[in-house]
């Protein structure tokens, strides 16, 4: 009998809200954090809008010693992990160190830190490159720094599958708990809105060039011309459900289903892997499509990818048979933080019976036959939620979350 895995703590850093309460209040109201990039002059680049976290300064939350050795994304991950543990009412210092693990997703690593060091390398020479570059930029750094900070020495790792990473990390964290680790901090945080970080993202050709924040990144719309990037994400506290109940913890929900697939080679003519990922997750959760109350979509904003997602959802659920939402239209796509934030949002939607809206879709495409929650939030009970994510390069993942009171 597999151990049931509960989420007991949430820490959020998002472009439209710092901290879970601020984020959730804004998200329910449909308040967007997307604006012209302010960290550098974006006028020379084809994409000038993004979801920046404007009110976050690592120095306001973290010890001075950590700042020279951490990228912005790691500072965000450390702060969000503090908040998630506090939210869960857990003090890691009182728990066995090998009974706690850390599994995060990472899509790009510490790009801003690395850009600064590369600039020193080519303008001044190798003697000027920070010794901390040895780890501050790399994929596993958030896992490492969270693990060091909280003395979590149990099974740990990092998943690198672009946007699918947020769900892959939760799936992997769930495995660790089922194998006996009591507590795992998990999920993703990215912050790659430096010029180098953004130029790297532009190579996909999937970023929207639209300059109007009221129009850019409109997934499932006939005008969709790509997505906007963002920074931030969420860190969740996962525990054995039995352990969480024993200590009387508040449970946001349980992770009951997870599925991951890989797309066939381009041009093969075979069906993309998204539908199979969803069906795998539903089967794992032992629920029927009709049991799912809401879907948090990947919402690429690229016409072809939107069409593929809508087709997969229609194939599984039937046309327009389940409410679908994309609150990431308020934040941009956060890479490894995207599905993490969606999972957190789905749990909050369950708690409050509110499905937040998708912004900017005024002319939904006919080939995207889904019941999109547009304009304003929809009040409705949410017992089971499905979160869907795709990563550049062919990754698909799906996650089923169950409310604590679901029958």
């Amino acid at each position: 009998m597999s151990e049931s895995v509960a989420v007991t703590g949430i820490g959020v850093i998002a472009p439209n809200g710092l901290g879970t309460d601020e984020f959730w209040t804004a998200t329910q109201k449909g308040i967007s954090g997307i604006d012209r990039i302010s960290r550098y002059d974006p006028s020379a680049y084809p994409t000038r809008l993004a979801g920046e976290v404007k009110d976050f300064e690592g120095g306001e939350h973290l010890a001075n010693r950590l700042l020279p050795q951490t990228d912005r994304m790691t500072q965000m991950a450390l702060v969000a992990s503090d908040w998630a543990l506090a939210d869960a009412g857990l003090d890691p210092a009182t728990l066995p160190e090998f009974g706690m693990g850390v599994v995060t997703a990472s899509a790009s690593g510490g790009f801003e830190f690395a850009q600064k060091e590369l600039q020193k390398l080519w303008s001044k020479g190798p003697g000027y490159v920070s010794a901390y570059q040895s780890f501050a930029w790399f994929y596993a750094v958030n896992t490492g720094q969270i693990s060091i900070r909280h003395g979590m020495r149990g099974p740990s790792g990092v998943l690198v599958t672009d946007q699918a990473g947020g769900l892959d990390a939760l799936g992997h964290a769930r495995r660790h708990i089922r194998k006996g680790t009591g507590v795992v901090l998990s999920d993703g945080m990215d912050a790659s809105l430096s010029p180098w970080g953004l130029v790297s993202q532009l190579t996909t050709g999937r970023l929207s060039p639209t300059a109007d924040p009221e129009r850019a990144y409109a997934p499932f719309d006939t005008s969709a011309d790509g997505y906007l990037p963002g920074e931030g994400g969420a860190i969740l506290v996962l525990e054995r459900e039995s352990g969480a109940r024993e200590r009387g913890a508040r449970i946001y929900g349980t992770i009951t289903g997870y599925g991951a697939t890989f797309d066939p080679r381009p041009g093969s003519g075979r069906e993309p892997g998204l539908r199979r990922a969803i069906e795998t997750a539903l089967a794992d959760a032992q629920v029927a499509p009709a049991d799912i109350d809401v879907v948090f979509a990947d919402a690429s904003g690229v016409r072809e990818l939107d069409r593929i997602e809508a087709a997969a959802l229609s194939a599984v659920f039937g046309p327009r048979a389940v409410p679908v939402t994309a609150p990431k239209t308020m934040t941009g796509r956060l890479y490894s933080g995207a599905a993490s934030l969606d999972a957190a949002t789905a749990l909050l939607a369950m708690r409050d019976g509110v499905v937040p809206p998708t912004l900017r879709v005024t002319d939904q495409a006919a080939d995207c036959a889904i019941d999109l929650v547009r304009g304003a939030a929809r009040e409705m009970p949410v017992h089971h939620a499905l979160v869907v994510a795709r990563g550049h390069g062919g990754f698909n993942a799906a996650l089923v979350l169950r409310a604590p009171d679901a029958g």
Binding site: A63, R65, L67, P68, G127, S130, A131, Y132
Partner: protein, 92 residues
């Protein structure tokens, strides 16, 4: 060209710039004989500081000299007795 003598004030400034300052430590106190480990600086922090020190003091430090200097007094002694950097290295 003669190398400039590095002082404890220079060293604490460099440490702060390179590796930050531990909240529980008073770097402005008498720290000459305090272990770097007790000041909150690990080997990587000292490695990071050493390249700054080399540039300021105009010396070339061996990895051993850095790793064996376990207190500020020992590190200052190693730096101030150090081998002046060559013209090409100091110009780098």
């Amino acid at each position: 060209m003669t190398a400039r003598e590095l002082t404890i004030a220079d060293l604490t400034r460099i440490l702060r710039e390179c590796a930050g300052e531990d909240e529980g430590v008073d770097l402005d106190g008498n720290i000459l004989d305090t272990l770097f480990a007790d000041l909150g600086y690990d080997s990587l922090a000292l490695l990071e500081a050493s390249s700054s020190i080399e540039r300021e003091a105009g010396v070339k430090l061996s990895d051993d000299a850095v790793s064996e200097a376990r207190t500020p007094r020992l590190l200052l002694a190693a730096v101030n007795a150090g081998i002046p950097a060559t013209a090409s290295a100091s110009a780098a």
